[in-house]
Symmetry: C2
Subunit: 447 residues, 2 copies
């Protein structure tokens, strides 16, 4: 009834392997002029008309009869009500997940530091939280309570005083689990707005929505495009692509476990990517058979099938060493090392968003409750970027406090370099503080 | 002869102060379609034609007769030669500055960490350097050796194996001090290319120029536009605006020192901004007088005059407390606290790129040799971003290594939350690892 999977098979020893791999990983960048223009118009309207624009856009896009901004504000009592309404197991699960995420992220908190040099000069780094952050949560089916925890908790651990959340409620549809998660994560204010208009509101502020310092959270193409446009006006987290998993398996894990791990990525989205690398060709055959066996039993079979057949692959390698080479080429968002003694190979892994080690650590555990963040660098950007973290909600100021003696000594060096760059005001500003020169320069004496 | 300065005077107690301040700080965002199109064409040409495109663009834009890529490569011997050619005081100054910058940035180096939970589950964070980084250095007059140190040293401290540098040499003009700085900072390879073509080469790679993981460094509008376009393909540092300084003075510092500190910012660029805040109106008068007195003596008088008259301001406040409120509104790139006991006020400063404390700490010392980085967040982005640092050249991977018992417990929580999000592959993947269920689920037994 269901067609056998046509998942791509590659062999890392083939001469054209890197060519095929590059093709597999290729992402066309989106730059749709029409979307850009629509988003720019929405941002302009929100900047000019504030709440009025939010009311109009929300009525139009979310098919709601909005009379005033008070219809678009969720009070804290409503979040508490949601926490009561969900089932006890759900409440417990959210609480456990939140506590573990908080505990892990507490370890990322950075403190200010300084040191004093021999001449009394103090150098240091002052760490402060952002004043405020705005969390975008997609509406409807993609409204994930776990994302609320993963985005809001690091902000709160960092010490961000005001965390606001926006979530569209198309046709009035609202997710109780998501509101309960917001309650547990300590979100301060919630607005039921979405799309580019919600991003614009948080970036520029309206009468009701406060302007925040940084906007985080996933969204559709309009949300992502709006984030690109407001970047600079506010900070943003990252521009995420489709999610991906790379599993390295030595062939000794139950193939059904591996198939379900691949499916857990594939079920997100037809564009999601699931790649399995193994030195065991027979194991890859078994996995293929089990893909065919399990696929019809899945709730999201159609999405999974498309992702597996169009975007995914099974790669045969000579050995684990070659597998790790391929890992470093791919720089995956999620990496599962379903192998014996995974810690032996850890030092050789240079690029990965999150590393799930051993046969028992499925990606799903990290998605929900292990502790580390599930917002991870996609599309190979793990080569240069990192999971969402407390660091993203803190910032640093350099501290320089020179003693008179220190300023005098540094001034001599600065003067030479400044004159070498033809920046004589820099040089003179430094020279004023050179103690030997103070007497000979009437302008340079402290009054 | 020279017209008296028309620098703006504001009073923080005036009812329309925030309006005037907003006007003063307003930056028009640049979005020139023509520049965008030119840059996109250049990027396309470099991607398609590689070295050939670099040779053509460099011949055309830098007015050079380039025959092959070897004309555009500076060998390490040439850097060493430059280090010999500069004067001994210049060499000493570069060495001192590099040592101090290195010493400060060493303190930023992050280490991997992990912890083990009671059931044997290991959680952690693995820190790795980027494989490679590319440093853009503007050519001609804006070619600052200090920027080479400030960009390359943090990368090398982070452990980046390959740091490449690009610098255009219009009409063949090359800066020995800059090459010497590259030698001292440990830059691995230098190419004499510039503009959008150099950014494209580093982002996509050519036959001769390696593809890097992150591009850093300042540049003109073409360079900046190209950086925006390649963001995602590679990491970028930041999109910097014109430089600014904010000086808070209690009126007890020699006004000539303060004027020269303002000038040192103003001499960069007609768009640079220098603001002085003081509770002492007479001091502001003195400063105005000394601006008029010193301006004609400055090498870059015309640039300084325009920056001071068009972009700068003197702000009268009631007291230092009100001054600090204005500081937090502005979120300056450079903040000088030229006041008694500046450390008393430090806890109240929420947003600033770098804080220069006390009467002796001129910004110029930080620009060259104090130790902290001189690449700082401009245009109020200190609200959410930080100085360039070792952190920018490291990345993190989350580590999750569950014991069978840990996976089993976490699996129960993950299952509830995944089903709450209708992601049943996630749920089943977690459930496979629940130990109680292993017997009742034939698929779930480890082979």
């Amino acid at each position: 009834m269901v067609k056998p999977t046509s998942i791509i098979r590659l062999n890392a020893d083939d001469s054209d392997f890197t060519h095929h791999l590059a093709h597999l990983l290729r992402r066309e960048s989106v730059s749709d002029d029409l979307i850009n223009q629509r988003v720019l118009n929405i941002i302009k309207a929100v900047r000019e008309c504030g709440d009025k624009a939010l009311i109009d856009f929300t009525s139009q896009f979310d098919k709601l009869d909005v009379k005033s901004m008070s219809d678009l504000i969720i009070l804290h009592e409503r979040l508490e009500l949601a926490l009561m309404r969900i089932t006890a197991p759900q409440r417990d699960a959210l609480m456990i997940a939140a506590a573990r995420v908080r505990s892990y992220h507490e370890k990322q908190k950075q403190n200010s530091w300084s040191y004093t040099e021999a001449d009394g000069t103090i150098l240091g780094q002052k760490v402060t939280p952002l004043d405020s952050a705005g969390l975008y949560v997609p509406g409807g089916k993609a409204s994930y309570p776990s994302s609320v925890l993963m985005n809001a908790i690091p902000a709160k651990v960092a010490g961000v005083a005001e965390v606001i959340m926006v979530v569209p409620t198309p046709h009035g549809e609202i997710n109780e689990l998501m509101l309960a998660a917001a309650c547990i994560a300590g979100v301060d204010r919630v607005f039921t707005i979405g799309g580019a208009q919600a991003i614009a509101a948080m970036a520029y502020g309206t009468e009701s929505v406060p302007k925040v310092d940084k906007v985080v959270g996933p969204g559709n193409i309009y949300v992502t495009t709006a984030k690109r446009h407001v970047f600079g006006q506010v900070g943003i987290d990252m521009i995420a692509g489709p999610s991906e998993i790379l599993v390295v398996c030595d062939g000794q894990t139950n193939p059904a476990w591996i198939v379900m791990d691949l499916f857990s990525q594939a079920e997100h989205d037809e564009d999601a990517q699931a790649i399995l690398i193994s030195p065991d060709a027979e194991f890859l055959d078994k996995v293929t058979a089990i893909i065919n066996e399990l696929l019809p039993t899945m709730d999201r079979a159609a999405i999974i099938e498309k992702s597996i057949n169009d975007r995914s692959a099974l790669i045969l390698v000579r050995d684990i060493e070659q597998a790790i080479e391929v890992v470093n080429l791919i720089a995956p968002e999620h990496l599962e090392l379903s192998i014996t003694n995974p810690q032996t190979w850890l030092p050789h892994i240079r690029h990965a968003g999150a590393i799930f080690m051993g046969r028992h650590t499925s990606e799903a555990l990290g998605d929900y409750c292990a502790g580390p963040n599930h917002v991870l660098p996609t599309s190979g950007t793990a080569r240069f970027s990192s999971p969402l973290s407390v660091y993203d909600f803190q910032k640093r100021s350099s501290i320089i406090f020179c003693s008179p003696q220190g300023a005098s000594e540094l001034g001599k060096t600065a003067s030479v370099l400044a004159r070498g760059e033809s920046l004589s005001a820099h040089a003179r500003s430094a020279e004023y503080r050179i103690l030997d020169l103070l007497d000979s320069n009437s302008k340079g004496t402290e009054i």
